[in-house]
């Protein structure tokens, strides 16, 4: 049957059926089961009102149960079975296989890279744009342009960037720009100094973050939370310190490596750095989201706090970092989390641009390959469970906030 006709029928049935269900069940409750007349009127009405919420919720619960909660359990079960052996229960064998697969660790390493770079960059740029666009008259137009990539598909965005990265300088803007560098002053400025500054800045921020995480250990008054919280903080602090050191080491590299001037680059294939070229797509798209949310947060800051700071003599930079950012810190965290959840889900970018070649795979791609290319549901489900585990701190944090 023509899908369009099918669609119309299903929509009509769907919506009509839903409305009908809600209406009729409500009527049933009120007229038949717990009539609102007679001597038990009061009691009946109260009973009906106790049951009615569940009538309203039931369809949604059912759908969520079938499509979200049951699959979690089923994935768990599948991860413990081996499809080739006739669905036999094999315990943790799939996980062992998973952990001994170098492709898996490659995906994890890349994912970690993505998780660090993308949310941080998007948030930083988003904040910058949000503040800057607020100051100029054509800010709204600027914001629309930056926000626009959110409307297109990941695949479309990937194609856009593939054109950008094309190896022919006539087609790909990046190579056209690259070919202009010949090792002279300009090259030194842009390709040595500039990255060095960025790395140093990153190292500084990482050190500051490390300090923030480890502070409570040294200042007793600031301790809160139990052992788990302290352990997590220690891990986060150690990770931040590691990154700071790594960045500093890379600064040296920046000045010493020989750059292949004059040779066109296949950006997607450069070992390690190709990940960043893929991340650029996500950053290009998601910065708009960060900007919109942070812009609203900035607008929500009470003007009085800004004005009294100005009267106290604060300069714009101080105003920004010491008055504004602390007040929207909660929103910054939320944005970070939303972006992180996105990073864990998106598989289209890698799928389109490199198809997981050249060591660019991230977990979502690895997962897809295992499930739908290799049809290995055991190991694939195991990797799904790993994905769920990675997301679980965020789920935990969300739930805590909701209470």
């Amino acid at each position: 049957m023509n899908p369009v006709i099918q669609a119309l029928i299903i929509i009509l049935i769907g919506i009509g059926g839903c409305l009908g269900y809600f209406y009729l069940s409500s009527q049933l409750l009120d007229k038949v089961l717990f009539p609102q007349r007679g001597e038990n009127a009061g009691r009946n009405i109260n009973r009906a009102n106790m049951i009615r919420p569940w009538l309203f919720i039931f369809p949604a619960l059912f759908v969520l149960g079938v499509y979200l909660f049951y699959p979690v359990l089923e994935s768990l079960r599948l991860s413990l079975t081996d499809r080739d052996a006739g669905d036999a229960f094999v315990g943790l064998a799939n996980y062992q296989q998973l952990f001994s697969d170098p492709k898996f660790w490659e995906a994890m390493r890349n994912n970690t890279l993505w998780l660090i770079v993308v949310p941080a960059t998007c948030t930083a740029f988003g904040l910058l744009f949000a503040q800057l666009t607020d100051l100029i008259a054509w800010g709204n137009i600027a914001r629309t342009i930056i926000f626009m990539p959110m409307a297109i598909s990941w695949v479309g965005a990937s194609v856009v960037f593939m054109l950008l990265y094309d190896i022919r300088p006539v087609t790909g803007v990046l190579n056209a720009v690259w070919m202009q560098f010949e090792g002279g002053v300009g090259s030194f400025l842009f390709l040595r100094i500039f990255p060095a500054i960025i790395l140093l800045g990153f190292a500084a921020v990482a050190t500051y973050v490390c300090y923030l995480f480890l502070r409570p250990f040294f200042i007793p008054e600031e301790r809160k939370g139990g052992i788990i919280s302290a352990a997590l903080r220690a891990v986060a602090g150690a990770a931040a310190a590691y990154l700071a050191v790594l960045a500093l080491l890379n600064v040296i590299d920046v000045f010493t490596i020989t750059l292949p001037y004059g040779k066109t680059q296949a950006w997607k294939t450069i070992p390690f750095w190709n990940n960043f070229f893929l991340m650029a797509v996500m950053i290009w798209v998601q910065t708009g989201l960060a900007m919109v949310i942070l812009s609203a947060a900035l607008r929500g800051i009470p003007q009085e706090t800004v004005e009294s700071a100005i009267i106290d003599g604060a300069k714009p930079f101080q105003l920004f970092f010491r008055i504004k950012i602390p007040q929207i810190f909660g929103t910054i965290v939320v944005v970070w989390i939303i972006l992180s959840v996105g990073v864990l889900r998106v598989f289209d970018i890698v799928y389109t641009m490199t198809f997981s070649n050249w060591n660019t795979a991230i977990l979502a791609n690895y997962l897809y390959r295992k499930l739908f290319n290799d049809f290995d549901w055991g190991v694939g489900s195991a990797s799904v469970i790993i994905l769920v585990l990675l997301v679980s701190p965020i789920i935990y944090w969300n739930v805590n906030k909701a209470r």
Partner: protein
């Protein structure tokens, strides 16, 4: 306003303007490149970058006079071949030309180049030429002419025609286009009723376990939908619907339902309590309150979510691949279609960019008209987690 107090000197303001302009340009460049490229021919793309396409450019080209064996005309002892180097009418203009690569800019239009022994050629600015010579000279291949050409911007719709309408193109996108709409629209409409009712119950009805359910919905927000792919597919196969449109509609609806309930619930909870109480006093039961009061007042939230969901399902790849696209190729959707083009059309950016842009037209249109709702929905969805 911030601006008045903070920006004290006009220099500072200029810095901001320029910085933002630069950043906006950076953001615009990628899409612009694709857009412009989709209107150029493959030849144009090979010859120059899209960033020059908007301007009149100067290029060097090698053109050839017509084949003398076919086209020479006798004029006494002398033969001539005349015509136009550009073929059919073109708006290009020759600024310099020459008969050999070494002397490629030796002559201006109108001059006559002496090729020796009485052979000569003259070229006009619009490409008209006259080539004279005797029998021997005007034989074999047409004379090559090296020209410097000024070409105004030239655009074409042939790429779009090829991708959309040309029946010879087996990868025509019209079908994918319709299929994608067929996926997106029902997937957007179906969840609304179910989510709205559930959201109302969680916002305004008092019952035990409500807090727990709210927490469950919030937890469901972050659960990655990849979890659901294989189990649900297995379920579909067991039931017998396998890969199908209803299957993908339900899958899309389910994956976004937690977000819908979350968004609607937050919005509904913001309706002033007194309005709901007034309705209760007026004698409305929960169903009537929902239909006549809460639902009409929640339309902004529903509109926002509809935009978000439509864009999400339209642009989706993974869910469509898993639950709909099979081996027949009839059920292909736009995103998958683009990926399938990357192989056969690798490097052919004229076609690829047109194809990519076709997939972007509807989302961009929706975005530009409904931007406010889109942004509000994303904002509302982020406020509480």
């Amino acid at each position: 306003m911030d601006g008045i107090v903070e920006i004290k000197s006009s220099l500072k303001k200029w810095v901001v303007h320029i910085t933002v302009a630069l950043l906006v340009a950076v953001w615009l460049v990628p899409t612009l490149g694709l857009f412009v490229s989709s209107f150029r021919t493959t030849d144009q793309i090979k010859a120059s970058g899209w960033w020059t396409a908007l301007f009149t450019t100067e290029q060097k080209e090698v053109l050839r006079a017509a084949d003398p064996d076919d086209f020479r005309v006798a004029d006494g002892d002398v033969f001539t071949v005349s015509g136009n180097l550009f073929g059919e009418g073109s708006s290009k203009k020759i600024t310099l030309w020459g008969p050999s690569s070494l002397a490629s800019d030796a002559y201006v239009p109108g001059e006559v180049a002496d090729l020796g022994d009485g052979e000569s050629i003259t070229v006009q600015a619009n490409g008209d030429y006259v080539w004279r010579g005797n029998d021997d000279q005007l034989s074999g291949h047409g004379q090559r002419v090296f020209v410097t050409v000024r070409a105004p911007p030239e655009f074409t719709l042939e790429n779009y025609h090829w991708m959309l309408f040309d029946k010879q193109n087996s990868q025509r996108m019209t079908k994918a286009f319709l299929n994608t709409l067929t996926v997106a629209i029902p997937s957007t409409i179906i969840p609304i009723v179910i989510s709205a009712f559930a959201a109302y119950a969680l916002a305004w009805m008092n019952f035990r376990g409500r807090a727990l359910l709210i927490v469950a919905v919030v937890a469901g927000l972050a659960v990655p939908y990849q979890v659901s792919l294989v189990p649900t597919l297995k379920l579909y196969v067991d039931i017998g619907i396998g890969k199908s449109y209803p299957g993908v509609w339900l899958a899309h609806s389910a994956f976004c339902m937690a977000f819908a309930i979350f968004l609607f619930r937050n919005y509904m909870a913001g309706i002033p309590r007194e309005i709901i109480e007034n309705a209760k006093l007026d004698g409305a039961n929960d169903f009537q309150i929902f239909i006549w009061i809460v639902l009409p007042l929640s339309i902004p939230a529903i509109a926002s979510w509809t935009v978000i969901q439509f864009l999400w399902t339209y642009n989706d790849l993974l869910t469509g691949k898993v639950f709909l696209i099979d081996n027949t190729g009839d059920n292909i959707i736009l995103t998958e279609a683009i990926i399938r083009m990357l192989g056969p059309y690798a490097g052919q950016w004229a076609i690829l960019s047109a194809g990519a842009f076709i997939s972007m037209v509807v989302p961009l249109a929706v975005f530009l008209t409904m931007q406010r709702y889109f942004a509000r929905g994303l904002l509302a969805g982020s406020i509480k987690g």
